[in-house]
Amino acid sequence: MQENASHKPEEVEQFLESTLESVDAAEELAVGMAQRAGLDEDELMKVGMAIRESMVNAVVHGNRYNANKKVRFSVSTDTERLVVQVGDEGEGFDFNSIPDPLAPENLMRTSGRGIFLIRSFMDDFQMRHLENGGTEVTLVKNLVSK
């Protein structure tokens, strides 16, 4: 990871359609900001994937491709961290119900790896229930080695 002392803080917030095109757009936007913040190629790949998985969860599982529901997507960078938030307007789910994809009985499942990959690729990951019933996730990547 390269420390980019000249990096100018950035912040973007968007309300995106519940489509796969929004997933691509969000990933591209965030990776661009992460690149300007000084993350190397390996870290950019990880950040991109984590954001993609978060957006897919919001679009597919949260909003269920509902054209009347939006995904709130925000990215901010300062000298120390890149912070991404993804919020949907779905019905929410039990955070304790997420199966462990590494458990032997789950290893050959065809889905269920998204949140695991997000946790693997980011330095911090939090989920919370929104007042409207939806889910918001916060992903953090440190820009300076700690």
């Binding site: 993609r52 998985e53 897919v56 590494l102 290893l107 050959m108 499942r109 790896r113 998204g114 990959l117």
Partner: protein, 114 residues
């Protein structure tokens, strides 16, 4: 471009050269359809050459797992060839690297089916 599949026969092994992005949507669906087509044609020996895969997400991983299970359950074998760092890292993180038979050389991969 999403994903492009090119199929060729090397003896009784079906080699599928995969190029592009295996992500949720068109990419993963194309891979899924190709797998089902090969199984329906009773192709038992399938080698997926992933050397030109630029991106794969968890849905793409899911399609590889689904294909592996389907081919195996039909009495066949599905193997992987030319994993780049991204795909290899993902399979290792998800503990799937040891599930698949992974090769770096096509000739040896073909021989391994026998």
């Amino acid at each position: 471009m999403s994903v492009k599949l090119t199929t060729r026969q090397v003896g009784d092994v079906t080699v599928v050269d995969v190029a592009g992005r295996i992500t949720l949507g068109e990419g993963s669906a194309t891979v899924r359809d190709a797998m089902r087509d090969m199984v329906s044609k009773s192709q038992k020996k399938i080698l997926l050459n992933l050397g030109e895969v630029s991106y794969i997400d968890s849905s793409g991983i899911g399609e590889l797992v689904s294909g592996f299970t389907t081919v195996t359950n039909s009495g066949g074998a599905l193997k992987l060839l030319n994993l780049n760092k991204r795909v290899k890292d993902l399979l290792q993180i998800t503990k799937l690297y040891t599930v698949f038979d992974v090769h770096d050389d096509e000739a040896s991969a073909i021989r391994s089916f026998n």
